[in-house]
């Protein structure tokens, strides 16, 4: 049996991480020592490494728990895990698409600001942001303008 410190050292994580995994239902100690310390079986290190690798692929703890539950189910098959992987890739690709759009929007804003010496009220980036804000709420625009004036004062 391994103590929490030994599992943490072998898996290259902190003891807090192991306790966090335990709270998330991903890793349970096999028992406790007479003094009340957590004790883990030999498979704990392998399980922690599995969790870490899955996290590196973008899976969150709830999804990793689901994957681990598939391992324990007799009726589960490789397809169940593959479906989770495909769905995770769809989610990541969607997030990449959103972030690319955000990056492009920033690039457009940076491109319209060709004179960094302009006074703050003439800042084309703030004006462009206010224009789009104005479409949502005139009140918000006033608030933003007010903040700018306060900063200048």
């Amino acid at each position: 049996m391994l103590t929490i410190g030994k599992v943490a050292a072998r898996a290259n994580v902190s003891a807090d991480t192991l306790r966090y995994y335990e709270e998330g239902g991903l890793l349970a100690p096999a028992g406790k020592s007479p003094a009340g310390y957590r004790l883990y079986g030999d498979d704990a290190v392998r399980r922690v490494q599995f969790i870490k690798h899955a996290q590196q692929c973008g899976f969150v703890l709830a999804e990793i728990r689901e994957m681990l539950s598939f391992k324990a189910r007799a009726d589960a098959c490789c397809h169940d895990i593959r479906a989770l992987a495909v769905e995770k890739k769809l989610e990541l690709e969607r997030r990449i698409k959103v972030m690319k759009a955000m990056s492009q929007a920033l690039e457009d804003l940076i491109a319209i600001c060709n004179d960094e010496a302009k006074p703050i009220d003439d800042c084309p980036i703030l004006t462009a942001l206010e224009t789009s804000l104005g479409a949502h709420s005139q009140g918000q625009r006033k608030t933003l303008l007010g903040k700018r004036r306060t900063r200048q004062a």
Partner: protein, 88 residues
């Protein structure tokens, strides 16, 4: 007017294959100008993301995600009939 039915899935899924077979029979029974296209999500990931697909089996009709998960045959039939009536 034809409806374009696109069924998104990944190859190798037996459950999906069986469900798709039942859904395809709905389209064949209707025999009313519904074009069926199997889409491999892994081959057309960008298109799947563009449509907002988040699960590994879904259906889009005329370029719109209508069933985020595979529907029952009855639900698909009802949706197709509704759209075909609207088009006629």
């Amino acid at each position: 007017m034809n409806l374009k039915l696109e069924v998104f899935s990944v190859p190798g899924c037996d459950n999906c294959a069986q469900a798709k077979k039942a859904l395809k029979s709905v389209v064949e029974e209707l025999d009313a100008g519904v074009e069926w296209r199997d889409v491999n999500i892994l081959d057309e990931m960008d298109y799947a993301v563009e449509l907002g697909i988040v699960t590994s089996a879904a259906i889009a009709i005329d370029g719109e995600l209508v069933f985020p998960k595979l529907p029952t045959a009855d639900r698909l039939r009802a949706e197709l009939v509704r759209r075909l009536r609207r088009e006629s």
